[in-house]
């Protein structure tokens, strides 16, 4: 065991620190002796041989998947806010606002979509309640613009 260092420098330390350091080093030397040097060497060489690239510290938001999920969450959250506002202003129905979120989710695969929907459970709950609250709105309550939009969307769904 390599104790040369500590033996050489203990003399220059105050006696109480020198003694404590000797005791501490005796303890950590026993721990160090349990390190399997051959195994360490083998693993280090193995990692070097395989050209293991040190994983860069990736910022979570640099991940494309995380970015997509985050973008979808933001869009859905914004939709939730709009729906909330819609419930305060019944002339705008939730049904008109919710489709805004749909195109942004087209690029997500099933697991990503599931993650988004889990994360936005509350938003959906708000949206549902808002839709229920505005279900009694008749065509007479819609503005001209809203009627045109509705007719256009009906035309799309039929075509």
């Amino acid at each position: 065991m390599d104790r040369l260092g500590i033996d050489r420098t203990t003399d220059e330390l105050p006696p109480e620190i020198g003694a404590a350091l000797q005791a501490l080093d005796a303890r950590v030397a026993k721990q160090a002796a349990r390190v399997d040097v051959e195994r360490v060497a083998a693993r280090v060489l193995d990692r070097l041989r395989h050209g293991e690239v040190e994983r860069p510290r990736r910022i979570l938001w640099m991940s494309p998947v995380a970015l997509r999920v985050a973008a979808a969450v933001v869009v859905l959250a914004a939709a939730g806010v709009i729906v909330n506002l819609a419930s305060d202003h019944p002339q705008q129905t939730a049904a008109q606002q919710l489709p805004v979120a749909i195109p942004a989710m087209d690029s997500l695969n099933a697991p990503q979509l599931e993650a988004v929907l889990e994360a936005t459970g509350e938003v959906r709950a708000v949206a549902d309640s808002a839709v229920q609250a505005t279900a009694g709105v008749s065509l007479d309550d819609l503005t001209e613009q809203q009627l045109q939009a509705l007719l256009a969307s009906l035309g799309n769904s039929e075509g």
Binding site: M1, L4, G5, I17, A23, D25, Q31, A32, V44, R49
Partner: protein, 181 residues
């Protein structure tokens, strides 16, 4: 006539051999320095069950960066400096206080129990004190007091001046003395 004395390759020669593609040179360097490195990391409070992994990670990083080793410090001091960085990074991940328990199997079964208890207490107290030191004070103190490195090597390994290394050592000893006192 005596048997021929087998020349022991210097670290610098082994490094050159490894960089030239000789893997056995790396193995020899690991054999030479892994235990001292583990002692250094353990003295800073690394948990025993992480010690081998920390040692391996440090050596891996060192070999990856070996081409940048300029030889101002000894290879060992350079390795210790990397070990300090690896431990610091790992601690950030652990996000909790590290306490190395003095388990019964670590105690020396021989000798006077009273003296053992006193030595054990002093060791624990010192380790606590080392943990409270500023990073450079801690690393300079252990490189000097535990590993016996010269101030010039320490300074080169840590990228500070020799005078700064002396000052850090002086402050470390002063603070540890007050802590143990």
């Amino acid at each position: 006539m005596g048997s021929p004395v087998q020349a022991v390759a210097a670290d610098g020669d082994l490094i050159a051999q490894y960089l030239a593609g000789e893997e056995r040179a790396a193995t020899e360097l690991v054999r030479r320095h892994a235990t001292a490195l583990a002692r250094y990391i353990a003295a800073q409070g690394a948990p025993e069950d992480e010690l081998e992994d920390l040692t391996q990670e440090t050596l891996f990083k060192a070999f990856r960066a070996l081409a940048t080793f300029r030889g101002g410090a000894s290879f060992r001091t350079w390795l210790l400096a990397i070990g300090g960085n690896v431990l610091r990074d790992r601690r950030r991940r652990w996000r909790k206080n590290l306490v190395v328990e003095l388990t019964p199997d670590i105690r020396d079964p021989s000798g006077d129990p009273g003296a053992q208890a006193e030595a054990g207490w002093a060791a624990e107290r010192l380790q606590e004190g080392i943990g409270k030191l500023a990073r450079l004070q801690r690393e300079v103190f252990l490189m000097r007091a535990q590993q016996g490195s010269g101030y010039d090597e320490i300074a080169s390994g840590l990228g500070i001046t020799e005078g700064a290394a002396r000052v850090h050592y002086h402050h470390a000893v002063k603070r540890l003395k007050a802590w143990i006192g």
